[in-house]
Symmetry: C2
Subunit: 446 residues, 2 copies
């Protein structure tokens, strides 16, 4: 016998029945709410050409891509030189997020609606170091609207995400908003060169993790001007004060435009599901470089990190076609949502597994067992048939192991009478019930 490991690979998980049912519960709410906002589903392949993926996620992202090894002749040719490189060994990789495939799809199918509102619920893969709550295969739940720069589109994606969280029972969460152009104005005002802006934002994005001092140190280490960290953080703190956003929006200079855009977004969402949750956070910086306008992040009291984020990216689709197409989107991370819901017992009762185990006396022919099971299933019941020839006590004990709330005993006497002996495993009560009435009786007792 073999020494094959039976564990899933590092960072990957098996989902047994209870896990699957909980995940489906969340995804069904996501789907229902996203569809109520008029989004339509899209599913893209697991495998994309590397030419689609590379250069969209920054150097670090490229490192985390799962790449598919060439096969057969192509592999042999690549290896023959003896100096094959990563790029010569592979031209396909696994989906890394849902946004880049969307951009490819928008560029590929020219008959999509002018305002393409799509949602996607699919796994993505990143060869990151596994940690608590961080996996190498995980689901994202995205909504995006392409084809418009309207604040209504920004408001709708934010509203859809808020609607999902409220639909799942979340009450205490914030959707932090900021604006890429405002971050640009703040970094410039702090004396950071435009060429270093992206790097500075990647550092600022770590504020929660490494704190004010950490950000200042790291900015200095990266060769930014002395004192720029203090200037930047000080200005951002001031911008967080009540009234500061309105003052910027009413003012002039590079802060006016983005401040007014955020004011418009806050106003547009005021009476929708996101209204009570939106919060201007001038320190919010998203790591990805493709954002061009408002950016978002969902946070939940007591959870380190975010449950999702997004923003406006008006230039990404233009990387796949001649014409620029504006777009805005929001991505919810299923795993973080599940983590919080599990910690806080936010799941409703979920039906898992069979409701009834059909237990068979030795004198029942297989055909009769299958026939009665079919009759019970036609009543909408989830029914398992005990397959082996075992003592009735063992069969009933197995029903308990399964967590089935009911068992039904079938013997030749019951067959002749057209009944089963229905046993309520919670109360221990047992009674003869006509086969045709079992569904009603189970429903009455459930």
């Amino acid at each position: 016998m073999s020494e094959i490991s039976t564990k899933p690979p590092s960072g990957m998980r098996d989902f047994l029945a209870a896990d699957v049912v909980r995940r489906r519960h969340v995804l069904s709410v996501v789907q229902r709410v996203y569809e109520s906002f008029g989004f339509v589903p899209l599913e893209t392949p697991t495998i994309e050409n590397l030419s689609t993926l590379l250069g969209k996620y920054g150097a670090e992202g490229d490192q985390l891509l799962y790449r598919i090894l060439h096969r057969r002749d192509k592999l042999q040719r690549a290896l023959q030189s003896g100096t094959a490189t990563e790029l010569e060994l592979s031209d396909e990789g696994l989906r890394y997020d849902l946004t880049v495939p969307l951009a490819r799809v928008v560029a590929n199918y020219r008959d999509l609606p002018a305002y393409y509102k799509r949602y996607a619920i699919q796994p993505v893969w990143r060869a990151d170091r596994p940690a608590k709550g961080r996996f190498r295969e995980f689901y994202q739940c995205d909504v995006d609207i392409t084809g418009t720069q309207s604040v209504l589109a920004d408001a709708e994606v934010v509203g859809a995400v808020a609607g999902v969280l409220r639909g799942l029972g979340f009450t205490e969460f914030s959707i932090d908003v900021n604006h890429r152009e405002m971050l640009r104005a703040f970094t410039a005002a702090a004396g950071i060169e435009p060429a270093q802006e992206s790097l500075a934002l990647i550092v600022l994005d770590k504020l929660d993790k490494i704190g004010r001092d950490g950000v200042m140190q790291e900015l200095a280490q990266k060769g930014m001007p002395a004192g720029c960290g203090e200037a930047l953080l000080g200005a951002l703190e001031q911008a967080r004060q009540p009234g500061a956003l309105a003052a910027m929006a009413a003012g002039a200079g590079p802060f006016q435009g983005p401040a007014a855009a955020l004011q418009a977004l806050l106003a547009a969402t005021a009476d929708g599901p996101a209204g009570a949750h939106l919060r201007f956070d001038p320190t919010l910086a998203r790591g990805l470089s493709y954002y061009t306008g408002p950016i978002f992040e969902v946070r939940c009291e007591g959870l380190a990190g975010s449950m999702g984020g997004g923003g406006r990216y008006d230039n990404l689709i233009g990387m796949f076609q001649k014409q620029k197409v504006p777009a805005v989107g929001f991505s919810l991370g299923l795993e973080r949502v599940l983590l919080v819901m599990e910690e806080r017992s936010m799941f409703p009762p979920l039906g898992i597994g069979p409701q009834l185990l059909l237990c068979l006396m030795a004198d029942v022919p297989a055909a009769a067992a299958i026939r009665v099971a079919s009759q019970l299933r036609a009543q909408g019941l989830r029914v398992e048939v005990f397959a082996d020839d075992k003592a009735m006590g063992k069969q009933l004990a197995y029903a308990n192991t399964l967590g089935a709330p009911f068992a039904a005993i079938l013997g030749s006497a019951e067959l002749a009478a057209g009944t089963v002996a229905l046993k309520d495993l919670k109360t221990g009560e047992q009674l003869a019930v006509p086969v045709a009435s079992v569904g009603v009786e189970v429903a009455r007792r459930s």
Copy 2:
């Protein structure tokens, strides 16, 4: 601007909204029926260790595996020698079927039920040559029962698959059954050596494609004894005659056991959903070598090839652990099922996309539009808000483009009155409806 291809990779597909909705319709029936049989869901990771996958699908299967290229240090080390092989460049691959991951799971989680009845609905990947109806990423819908050799288990997996097909509206399909031991007895009787039995069955499996003469030629080419093909095919033809199975079951020798087992299966399923569809076909041979008992294949009038298949495999799980665990399963191929359903227009009407486009006069503030949209969504409607500032005619034309059956016009007059101008886009009729009554009015007209 770039020259990036915007197509999915070869053999892969994008599913736009109508595709996703049709796929979901089928999968919802699969899930409902499988659960009614007491099966519980399992989801395993996309990526498995190659040690799990290799050697389970035969040499040809190993060739079709998608392998993940090593990264960073591991890749550098592998390449340094200058003579790296496929196995040194990769130790992970993509899921190739749902059965081997199940075997790994059964070996890994020792607290699973003694009779583990699981279903799985997941994509698998095979680097096969793409062709009509053959893709490199495709979904399988599997049911399996582990832990018992009972004919009831065989009958249940066959019944579940028949139940799914009937639930989808299929009436004319057959579930062909045969037995691995009977094939062994027939090949032996035809003079084929035990060592060549598997090879002979792979050839026999092509009978539909290459015909009698093709099978006989190929057996001869593979070095089988002269005349063995004719003997084998002749005997199989005889076994197909009415009464032949019963005669073998009543007889003696190596045919008796498997014939009696198939007789028992036919009897057990007689009054269940599979009853009318089961058909003994002594020429049925499944390519995979791990089957040990009954084997199945679903065929549908007018479809070349099968919609799925399965069988009993009592030794596979033992490849992952010391203890043997018997098992039986059946796999439905989603893509073939969809192909037939599309060709035969078997789909019910499926709601795709928004039911109502909320069209906005220029005098409506964004906040009011979002508020009214929220009120409509709370009534269960799927509502899209037109985001750009365009003439009303263009907005209504867009509703038609989308295929939305209704539009609702909102201006300051409607806002003041608490109404919308609801337009039925099928009839062209337009009437003022209180916002709170739109859901009822749409339902009445749908």
